[in-house]
């Protein structure tokens, strides 16, 4: 689309850019988290960039990604880009004046899931970052109010991580297990999964 943005970031923040590519028409820059805040400020304030709209922020867990192990070459890791660390925080930005888009990615290792919060640049990142924290446990430093958003405060774990068990219960209140064939209609069985152990 507009490689101009890619080139601008690459030239201005050469040390912080890990890789950059355009895949499926989306321009992507994989950044070091040290520069993400600077890049964001630059992208917002520069007249030629003018990325004034925060579209989205999310995260991806690449645990056991096929071909994503250390032995995988850049080629097998795919053009789509998976930068090699377990987590990636993905930002999408848009400029309503220049009408261009960019995707910023920050690769984070499992052991250190902190990254600067972009709420300092766009307030609209607020809830998106809270969701990424809730679902992936990414810590956004400098976020004014990093609480869980979709789940309840007492929830343990981050359910979109690939190692979070798919089945099982984490009830706030004990769930009454019912004999399936002698159900009392007044009681509600919250178990809706037919494969769940009876």
């Amino acid at each position: 689309m507009s490689t101009a943005v890619l080139n601008a970031i690459k030239s201005k923040f050469a040390s912080g850019v890990r890789s950059a590519h355009s895949h499926c028409g989306d321009d992507t820059v994989v950044l070091d988290r040290k520069v993400i805040l600077d890049v964001a400020r630059y992208l917002k304030s520069d007249q030629a960039m003018a990325f004034n709209m925060p579209i989205d922020c999310t995260a991806v867990d690449y645990l056991d990604f096929p071909g994503g192990d250390a032995a995988g070459s850049d080629e097998t890791r795919g053009v789509g880009g998976f930068a090699g660390a377990r987590f990636e925080v993905v930002y999408h930005l848009y400029s309503t004046t220049r009408k261009h888009r960019i995707r910023l990615k920050v690769a984070l290792d499992e052991s250190d899931v902190n990254t600067p919060s972009l709420t300092q640049v766009w307030l609209g990142m607020d809830w998106f970052e809270r969701e990424a924290w809730d679902m992936y446990g990414i810590r956004f430093d400098g976020h004014p109010d990093l609480r869980r958003i979709l789940l309840y405060e007492e929830f343990v774990g981050h359910p979109l991580r690939k190692d979070y068990p798919l089945r099982g219960y984490q009830p706030l209140v004990p769930i009454a297990k019912l004999d399936r064939d002698n159900e009392d209609p007044k009681l509600v069985n919250t178990d809706l999964n037919p494969e769940a152990p009876e």
């Binding site: 159900e183 209609p185 037919p194």
Partner: protein
């Protein structure tokens, strides 16, 4: 291209509430008098007596189609339970010991309370065995277990399927 919507600024007359209230009362009354004396615009359907027409594509209660000899067309290939995004279909396969059909569903159960009526099962069926075109919406149940509908009930809604199958196109 973009254009600004016409945003009304109320004139002093409209600001006095009364004329606009009377206009609204007029609309209400027009509907009232049309419905009580004139041509009835009433859209309510009196349900148990009058049933709304379902579209021909309406996805309702599932049914299992039958062969000419009355057995189920289903051969328990499990594609429907694979395609089901809600995992509501349970099938157990059995062996007829017959070289023509070989495989049949010993148990075919759909949990209607889990089903999301997306139609993926009929799309996935390679034998024209399961369909959702019965035109019946799902009945409500008193107990959860009544929501699990078995092969017999599904066959009872079924019909003879005459779809040709097995490469016998000639």
């Amino acid at each position: 291209m973009g254009y600004k919507v016409a945003r009304p600024e109320l004139n002093i007359f409209e600001k006095s509430y009364v004329p606009e209230i009377l206009k609204g009362v007029g609309v209400s009354s027009r509907h009232f008098f049309r419905n009580i004396f004139g041509k009835k615009d009433i859209v309510t359907v009196e349900y148990p007596e009058v049933k709304p027409d379902y579209a021909s594509r309406y996805r309702g209660h599932h049914r299992l189609m039958a062969r000419e000899d009355g057995t189920a067309r289903c051969v328990a290939c499990m594609l429907c339970s694979t395609a089901c995004p809600a995992h509501c279909i349970t099938i157990e396969a059995g062996d007829y010991g017959d070289t023509d059909v070989e495989k049949y569903p010993v148990k075919f159960e759909i949990d209607l309370l889990v089903c999301v009526y997306c139609g993926m099962c009929e799309e996935a069926c390679p034998c024209d065995a399961i369909r959702m075109d019965s035109g019946i919406h799902t009945p409500s149940q008193m107990y959860r277990k009544d929501g699990r509908v078995g092969k017999v009930d599904l066959m009872a809604l079924g019909d003879l399927s005459i779809a040709k199958q097995g490469g016998e196109l000639s």
